[in-house]
Symmetry: C2
Subunit: 317 residues, 2 copies
């Protein structure tokens, strides 16, 4: 889960702390699971599951003044499900750990958050199979999702090859624009919905996996930063040729806003036609080509200019 | 996860809020998962997994002044694993969602918490397969655990039958006594270890399942409250004949302290001998008989006197 913080860059961001956790723990921990959007869990008797956990903290990822408790529940589950989508997995279940402020007297915030979780679960065909409820100084919703690739291989961030086409499942910046408009007093419109009720691209992720995607990531921290991360993991460069901007959003919001949950993926140019037709036939988002993967890892351009690593890094450290 | 709060009873505790969530959400949510210690997840291709999530919040479940960040990580994973133990499951993986205070400048608390998680994972043969890191006003460690019963049936709270024997895997109150001693300035000794480094009874849980346990629960919220919950779920009563008190603890701490993670279980008297021998052969805790299950649901006694529902209910509402 990211959050719109335009132009936010920090010296000691999440990526660095996670690397330190990996180095410090060494073999004592199998995988901290943050190299890709989700981790893999081998299941006794064969097969593997795709698992991920994601937290929403009031005041960090959301502002309860700008969206309802039910919106927070919706966003928390959808943000976690987006990590499954980015691996090409479909959900089989979710667990919700809820920390609710102590002053919340009658349980109504708790119940409203869970209503939003249940709505998002119903919209995504994801049953809620476990929960934990506790009190604390601030609302924290941590969601663990468990998914399957039905015997196939999940798509990681690391498989992009020079010459692959870069595609995205929809325009970006809508969520950031929605937050901007909410802060300015507007409470309706498609970008407000994009902020309050984002949708994980689960169908598109499965279609991309089946359609030959070589690498995939969800645009949770901004198109620019997440494209850099995909290129880092794949050890390649890229030439971004166009920035798909959501109606009502600015180009900067599209590049650095985050929380759009569109899927950014790479595939051989030969595969595009069948992938786009498969999405159309299923009534899914229409993916578009926005760039190409380059061999030189130092090539990281947008319309010929160097693309900054601008985006949301969680404020840890 | 519970926490020692002796004699603490509240009008609107966790049990009631969870019931309201279930009522409000109805069919929109498959199971909130809190009736038993863990939920069941059907896996594509057959089989099922046992899943649970549990949170530790600084100032609510732990006091960072009385234990180290590594202790908090250890306690968080062990608390979640105890829910698997209570179903007779063994762990296959865990995910950790970490919220760390923003002022924590160099990432050292984050790394220390994860070191404790890794130590508990190594001690329990539970790989950490995913994580999320974010900032917030207070330390929150939410752990999701995934386990298996290897094709068998998990043990729930609901199967106790009149005439069954009530057993427990060890004496209670050590964790509460440890907290009391830490608050008084003591920093060493077995009860301090019981508070800082509790151990989930995973081997004992599997042995109980294989040995014919009809119902099981972990003593995370205190022997009295958890025995009432087991009896509620099974629609039976009980006669507690003895209260096993840890060395250094008081009888009240044993009954109402919580966070001991001993397993409270019921089984036919015919099964006890083989179960105890199986534990002995594997070098596990030695289970002891502490009471019997009664047909009359209103019979809830300890040495002939009514047993109060004293124990830790999370301070929500």
């Amino acid at each position: 889960v990211g959050s719109p913080k335009l132009g936010y860059t920090q010296s000691r961001g999440e990526d660095e702390i996670v690397e330190r956790i990996r180095h410090t723990l060494g073999g004592g921990i199998e995988a901290f699971g943050l190299r890709d959007d989700a981790g893999l869990l081998e299941v006794p008797g064969g097969g593997s599951l795709v698992v991920s956990v994601d937290s929403v903290v009031d005041g960090v990822h959301v502002e309860l003044g700008l969206c309802s408790p039910a919106d927070v529940g919706w966003k928390a589950l959808m943000g976690a499900l987006s990590d499954l989508a980015a691996m090409g997995a479909r959900p089989v279940g979710a667990l919700v750990a809820l920390t609710v402020p102590e002053g919340e007297g009658d349980g109504s915030v708790t119940v409203a958050v869970m209503e939003g979780v249940a709505e998002a679960g119903a919209a995504s065909e994801c049953p809620i199979v476990g929960g934990d409820l506790t009190s604390g100084p601030v609302l924290v919703v941590s969601v663990t999702v468990i998914g399957t690739v039905d015997g196939g291989d999940p798509v990681t961030r690391a498989g992009a090859r020079p010459g692959d086409v870069v595609m995205i499942t929809g325009p970006c910046g809508g969520s950031a624009a929605g937050l901007r408009k909410l802060r300015a007093g507007s409470t309706v419109g498609p970008v407000v919905d994009a902020y309050r009720r984002p949708v994980a691209r689960l169908g598109e992720g499965v279609a991309a996996r089946l359609g030959g995607a070589t690498a995939m990531i969800d645009v949770s921290d901004g198109l620019a930063l997440d494209l850099h991360r995909l290129a880092d993991a794949s050890n390649v460069g890229f030439a971004l040729e166009t920035v798909p901007v959501a109606v009502g959003a600015t180009p900067n919001e599209a590049l650095g806003g985050g929380e759009d949950y569109e899927l950014l993926l790479t595939m051989d140019a030969m595969c595009i036609g069948a992938f786009v037709r498969a999405c159309e036939a299923q009534g899914l988002q229409q993916p578009v080509q926005i760039g190409v993967i380059r061999d030189d890892t130092a090539t990281r351009t947008c319309n010929g200019h160097e693309l900054a690593r601008t985006g949301w890094q969680h404020r840890v450290g």
